[in-house]
């Protein structure tokens, strides 16, 4: 229990560090940068209680917000997907999966996991960019920002998941 929590914590810290130190400094043509933080919530294992997932979502978002100067935006978006992740995982995980299944390509099947990621990520991005551009003049700019960031985030997450890909 403690070991798995520590593992998850260091995983979260690693992704947060990549987000804050590298990705937040990338501005592809001035448009949205990739967001890696949602992966922390996406990979919460099966059987995580919904309240625990919510605390993870808010906590990760809070730290990401402080370092990026986006108070409240990441925490709102990540709390939302943390609310949806447990039941969605229950729905999409294979019926015969073990109790603490950690979502991955090998555990859930390539296509299934890709859908799982894409769905949670689009929800996250919709909330994130809606809140960020609350009083946006150029609605097309925010749409482009969201599109660019979504594509970049999705590619990056798929890449990270392929590198990580545990056998179990």
């Amino acid at each position: 229990m403690i070991v798995s929590t520590l593992k998850r914590l260091s995983w979260a810290l690693l992704l947060l560090a990549i987000q804050v130190l590298i990705l937040d400094q990338v501005h592809p043509w001035g448009y949205g940068a990739p967001l890696l933080c949602p992966l922390i919530i996406i990979t919460l294992p099966l059987g995580t209680s919904r309240s625990e997932a919510l605390l993870w979502g808010f906590g990760v978002g809070f730290v990401a917000d402080i370092f990026a100067g986006t108070s409240g935006i990441s925490s709102a978006a990540l709390t939302l997907i943390a609310f949806i992740q447990p039941p969605l995982l229950q729905l999409m995980a294979p019926r015969d999966s073990e109790e603490e299944l950690r979502p991955s390509f090998s555990a859930m099947g390539r296509w299934n996991y890709l859908q799982f990621i894409a769905l949670l990520l689009i929800l996250h991005h919709l909330v994130y960019f809606a809140l960020e551009g609350f009083s946006y003049f150029h609605i097309e700019d925010i749409a482009i920002s969201m599109g660019v960031s979504y594509a970049a985030s999705l590619l990056l997450i798929i890449l990270v998941e392929h590198v990580r890909n545990p056998k179990k």
């Binding site: 001035g30 808010f58 409240g72 925490s75 960020e132």
Partner: protein, 277 residues
């Protein structure tokens, strides 16, 4: 009874969800009042320290580009100086007047050098963090400039860091004028490209052409008059059709700056108290 409690606990995550979303909303709202607490921003001590280490590491990588820009700037200034000298030599009027005016303008102003340790240009409301704070003499509402133009206005300070509202911020509004004329307006950023800002309220009878220089007006106490902001790129009608709205190509590329200066104007308090009356 136990059935009742069970039913309640089964829905506790709903309550937690709403609570955390409300908390996020509160933070979002709180942050919009950017003069408020700096503790939930990237200027708080812990976050600023991390960004500072990162900035030091990155500054080595960016040094060549920064150097090249400084050299270019230096050459441009030298050329300008040369032209000015030539003009002054030709001018028959008493040149000590010009000198006096310049000295008067910069009188009582000190420039506090600082480095940017955190920056963004991709958001709707962009903020920067610099590594100079109240101990170095930085205070809220001071102007921040670099060699090529204006960067922003200090919005909050901690002892060794300051949070700066970038000109790429929805609330940023810089009083400016067309160089060589008295037509003034406000420079605003509407999102999107970090080099594209707008100057509104320019009267329709003003003679403007593309390429005209835009500079600070000096009407506010934040920036002295005559700091270059950028050039007119497009001349459009304002939404109400009563004035021009100029699209300005900014001279400062905020996506690529490191060294800045904070303008500490000792006469600012005087002017502020006058404006407040």
């Amino acid at each position: 009874m136990s059935d009742f409690i069970e039913r309640i606990t089964a829905y506790v995550h709903w309550a937690l969800f709403l609570l955390l979303e409300a908390l996020s909303g509160f933070l979002l709202f709180q942050y919009n009042h950017y003069q408020g607490s700096v503790w939930f921003t990237q200027a708080n001590t812990a976050a600023a320290k991390v960004h500072e280490w990162e900035a030091v590491a990155l500054s080595y990588l960016r040094m060549p580009a920064e150097n090249a820009a400084l050299v270019r700037r230096n050459i441009a200034l030298q050329q300008q100086l040369d032209v000015m000298r030539h003009e002054l030599a030709l001018a028959k009027v008493d040149t000590s007047m010009t000198q006096k005016a310049l000295e008067h303008q910069l009188e009582g102003m000190t420039l506090i050098p600082a480095q940017i340790i955190d920056n963004s240009v991709r958001k709707r409301d962009n903020m920067l963090v610099i590594n100079a704070g109240s101990e170095e003499g930085v205070a809220p509402e001071m102007g921040v400039v670099n060699g090529t133009g204006i960067v922003g206005i200090v919005s909050a300070v901690t002892p060794h860091h300051a949070l700066v509202m970038s000109i790429l911020h929805s609330r940023s509004s810089i009083s400016c004028r067309l160089r060589g004329t008295e037509y003034f307006g406000y420079l605003k950023w509407k999102g999107g490209k970090p080099l594209r800002a707008y100057m509104d309220d320019v009267p329709r009878h003003a003679h403007i052409k593309k390429g005209d220089a835009v500079e600070t007006s000096g009407f506010s106490a934040v920036f002295p008059a005559g700091i270059f902001l950028g050039k007119v790129a497009e001349i459009n009608n304002s939404s109400d059709g009563l004035a021009y709205e100029l699209e300005i190509l900014l001279s400062t590329d905020l996506a690529n700056i490191r060294h800045v200066n904070v303008i500490a104007d000792q006469r600012k308090e005087e002017l502020d108290s006058l404006l407040a009356q």
